[in-house]
Amino acid sequence: DQQVKQNSPSLSVQEGRISILNCDYTNSMFDYFLWYKKYPAEGPTFLISISSIKDKNEDGRFTVFLNKSAKHLSLHIVPSQPGDSAVYFCAARGRYGGSQGNLIFGKGTKLSVKP
C-alpha cells in the first residue's frame, strides 16, 4: 500500500506562472518530507525539505507547505521557468532509528513548463 502518493502523473504550466505539485501521505510517523527533481538520464537531486514540526519552508523560488492534519504537502514554484521541466518526486522519512536515508518515494510528477 502506497504511503506516499503523488496523484498527478503530469502537470503543464506556462512560463512565469506558478507550478503547484501535490503529495499525500498516510503515515503520521514521518518526520521529514523532501522534494527531489530528476532530469532524464541523471540521478535525482535534492530540492527542498521540511521538518514535520514546521508548516512552511522557503528557498528562493521554491516553497514547500505541510498540512499535517490533512497529511498533505505541496511544492510551489514561482515563477516557473522552462529549466524547471523535470520529474519531481515527493519523499518521506520514517521517524525511526537506524538509517537516515530510508526514504519512501512517491511515483513522481512530470512538470512541463512551456515558454
Binding site: 506516499v4 521529514y32 523532501l34 538520464a41 541523471e42 540521478g43 535525482p44 537531486t45 535534492f46 525539505s49 518526486f89 519523499a91 522519512r93 537506524g98 538509517s99 537516515q100 536515508g101 530510508n102 526514504l103 519512501i104 518515494f105 512517491g106 511515483k107 513522481g108
Partner: protein, 113 residues
C-alpha cells in the same frame, strides 16, 4: 559535488547470470544506499550500509546482496539476474546528518534479457 561514481553505467545481460554494480564515493560518508527506479514505482530502497561490513535490507531486497569492505565502495550483486530486475539503479549517500537529504549518483541502467 559529493563525488559518487557508479559503474557500469549501462549493462545488458542474460537471465541467470550474476551481475555486480559498483558505487564509489570520495567523501568518506558513513551511510550509503542502493535504490532502484521503475516506471510507476518511483524509487525504492534495496539495501543500505551504515559502515564497513554493516548493511541492512530495504523495501525490495529479495534477489539482491550487498557488500561494503571499504568506506568508499558499496557493491550491489544480483546472484542470478531475472527480467524483473531490469531497472535503473541509483547509489546514494547522506551528506547531511539527520535530514534525510541524499546525494544520488548518475545511475546504472541494467537490462536483463
Amino acid at each position: 559535488d559529493a563525488g559518487i561514481t557508479q559503474s557500469p553505467r549501462h549493462k545488458v545481460t542474460e537471465t541467470g547470470t550474476p551481475v555486480t554494480l559498483r558505487c564509489h564515493q570520495t567523501e568518506n560518508h558513513r551511510y550509503m544506499y542502493w535504490y532502484r527506479q521503475d516506471p510507476g514505482h518511483g524509487l525504492r530502497l534495496i539495501h543500505y550500509s551504515y559502515g564497513v561490513k554493516d548493511t541492512d535490507k530495504g523495501e525490495v531486497s529479495d534477489g539482491y546482496s550487498v557488500s561494503r569492505s571499504k568506506t568508499e565502495d558499496f557493491l550491489l550483486t544480483l546472484e542470478s539476474a531475472t527480467s524483473s530486475q531490469t531497472s535503473v539503479y541509483f547509489c546514494a549517500i547522506s551528506p547531511k546528518a539527520n535530514t534525510g537529504e541524499l546525494f544520488f549518483g548518475e545511475g546504472s541502467r541494467l537490462t536483463v534479457l
